[in-house]
């Protein structure tokens, strides 16, 4: 066993790191269950705190929030039929009918247990697969890294749910923003307009705070009906009974494996994993007709899947520096602030930190299980928190967060500017996630492209002679083709539906 494993375990088991993990889990459970607050917003709000804390404590806090948030999303899905996070959408299908017939405690107990098993399965994936993948990635040259990053960029297509062109445009705008500041190879100033503050470029965390938090704030203002529902806060026993545990064996296995695997694929994310595992479980069930009417299997499968995604998504983030979802993109930003660049070298140069992160993930899952079960009755009372207090706090924390990054007011104005861009994109029905991914990957993409072309003296054949590069370019082509096919099928289905409706 590598000594880094033991050092990482010791670091993650330090008192302050464990305390930080616990606090992160509690905040995550609260953030996750509040409709209108996403895990991304929660992490963004917590970012200013992490800038001043040591790296291991910061990352433990954020991981706790990530995992707690995934479970917390199911609370409001079960109790209010409003998923706290998009990943909990599938949980509401059977969770809410259970709550409606007075079994909210039972549904939540199953959700928490399934989340725990899903999370621990993905921990095993993370622990065993990430170091292997990092070893392989160490052999990558610049042309290979370009192809990997290009593959990461093509994930944009999978986030372009409604319009492929709009999704790609959002990504292209992100790539354009990345070119502001010094160019990564020669240091030439580009698009800085003589502004000293722009010389270092736009910090992507500042952009991210604006892009996510401001539109969220405005959408909460324009939809003030969310908090009006009656909440069932009196819960019976939440500890799952033996028959229930037997019933969820298969759904949890399906959910955990599906979630861990889909988490590794950048772009797939929690909601997709949850719905796919829900569908598989229904097909595998002997009583598929009970699904949708409060089946315990229908709660267990998506909940195990969305928590299993968390560990899976950390694998490409840690080994290739490619974010699997918006949350891991923000985690990359948080690591970079601490001088730690996720990628193939992370396990080689900071193996202790990499394993510390993996073990913090392990502890976060344990604490999430214990805290969620023990404090559920107390936690659900948070659902009654007035938005009039919550949302202004989020707004002020966004300002503090963007200021604290470099102690510079210019960043606060940049944050507001990106907030307006986010609102404009929402108005144009353009997805924001592709822009975010382009901001994270764009700089490295350009650098690797130019260094590779410089080494080959401008010959693009360099990308087709290396088998690794060729393989990833082939995967990129497949990813684009698949998205085009999906877009075409969805358009065709819409047209058919329209024709059917026309008399």
């Amino acid at each position: 066993m590598s000594p880094d494993v033991l050092i990482g375990l010791t670091q993650a088991t330090g008192l302050l790191v464990l305390l930080s993990t616990c606090i992160g889990v509690v905040i995550g459970l609260v953030v996750g269950m509040i409709p209108g607050m996403t895990i991304s917003t929660g992490i963004i709000v917590l970012l200013p705190v992490t800038f001043v804390l040591p790296a291991d404590i910061s990352i433990a806090l954020l991981l706790g929030l990530y995992i707690g948030g995934m479970t917390g999303g199911s609370f409001s899905a079960v109790l209010l039929n409003i998923p706290g996070t998009p990943s909990a959408s599938a949980t509401a299908i059977d969770g809410y009918p259970m709550a409606a017939r007075g079994e909210a405690g039972r549904a939540l107990g199953i959700a928490i247990t399934a989340s725990f098993i899903g999370g621990m399965t993905s921990f095993l994936f993370l622990f065993f697969v990430a170091p292997l993948l990092a070893n392989v990635a160490l052999e990558f040259r610049t042309e290979d890294m370009f192809a990997v990053l290009f593959f990461g960029i093509t994930i944009i297509c999978s986030f372009a749910a409604k319009s492929l062109v709009k999704g790609l445009l959002s990504g292209a705008i992100g790539l354009a923003i990345v070119t502001i500041g010094q160019d990564p190879v020669m240091g030439t100033q580009r698009f800085t307009f003589g502004q000293v503050n722009l010389m270092a470029g736009v910090h992507f965390l500042t952009a991210m705070i604006g892009l996510f938090a401001i539109p969220q704030l405005v959408s909460n203002l324009t939809d003030m009906t969310g908090g009006a529902k009656q909440i069932q806060t009196k819960l019976a026993s939440v500890v799952p009974r033996l028959p229930d545990l037997k019933a969820i064996r298969l759904p949890v296995t399906i959910g955990s494996l599906t979630g861990s695997f889909l988490g590794i694929l950048p772009g797939a994310g929690g909601p997709i994993a949850a719905f796919i595992s829900y569908d598989y479980t229904r097909r595998a069930s002997k009583k598929p007709e009970t699904f949708g009417n409060g089946a315990v299997e229908g709660v267990a499968a998506p909940e195990s899947a969305n928590n299993a995604v968390t560990g899976g998504a950390l694998i490409p983030m840690m080994t290739l520096g490619i974010p699997g979802d918006p949350v891991t993109a923000i985690l990359i930003g948080a690591l970079i602030v601490h001088g730690l660049a996720p990628g193939p070298l992370m396990f080689l140069e900071r193996g202790d930190f990499a394993y510390g992160l993996i073990f913090s993930f392990f502890w976060a899952n344990i604490f999430n299980f214990i805290i969620a079960l023990a404090a559920l009755r107390l936690l659900v009372k948070v659902l009654a928190t007035p938005r009039a207090l919550l949302m202004p706090t989020v707004a002020v924390l966004c300002v503090i967060g963007s200021f604290a990054l470099r102690n510079n007011f210019f960043d606060v104005y940049v944050m507001l500017f990106f907030g307006l861009i986010g609102l404009g994109m929402r108005w144009l029905d353009m997805p924001v996630v592709p822009l975010l991914l382009a901001l994270v990957l764009g700089g490295q993409l350009e650098e690797n492209l130019r260094v590779a072309l410089t080494s080959s003296q401008g010959d693009i054949a360099i990308f087709f002679t290396s088998p690794i590069s060729l393989g990833f370019l082939f995967l990129s082509a497949l990813s684009i083709a698949w998205s085009l096919r999906s877009a075409w099928q969805s358009k065709r289905a819409t047209n058919l539906h329209k024709k059917e409706l026309t008399p």
């Binding site: 062109v165 292209a172 790539l175 207090l389 604290a404 130019r450 003296q457 401008g458």
Partner: protein
Amino acid sequence: MVLLAFALVYGALTTQLPIRSLPDTPGPPFFPWINTAILLALSLGLLAQGIWAKTPDDGSPEATPDGATEATERWRAVWALGAFLAYLLVLPGLGFLLATIPFFAALMVLFGEKRWLWVAIGSIGISVALYVLFRHGFDVFLPRGVLPDLLATIIP
């Protein structure tokens, strides 16, 4: 059209970038030129899609029964953004506490809080708590502004 204009402006700015590179190697404008091409192609594609998909019904938005509510909500968002902008403009000069308390109170009212005592307690309490936490707990140099001088004048 907005996106097409953005692509054109970005392309125009790219032409002004210095060309400094070794022979047969890509220089600083190389990547921005690729971006310009992608932006132009996609924004033209979106424009074409819009023209192609336009049907006689598309031009007139349907009147909804709750149009008045929607307008109120939209105005609420405009007020919130205006308050945000004003807050950011006065923050460096006034300081964190003096700027944040009225901004917080304004947002509380916009989010539907009608009890003035709650607005006062919430805005002052949370602003002070955040200031103490970040300024003294995490050493973030939030601006003090004119408050210390003001207090020194009042309490000699």
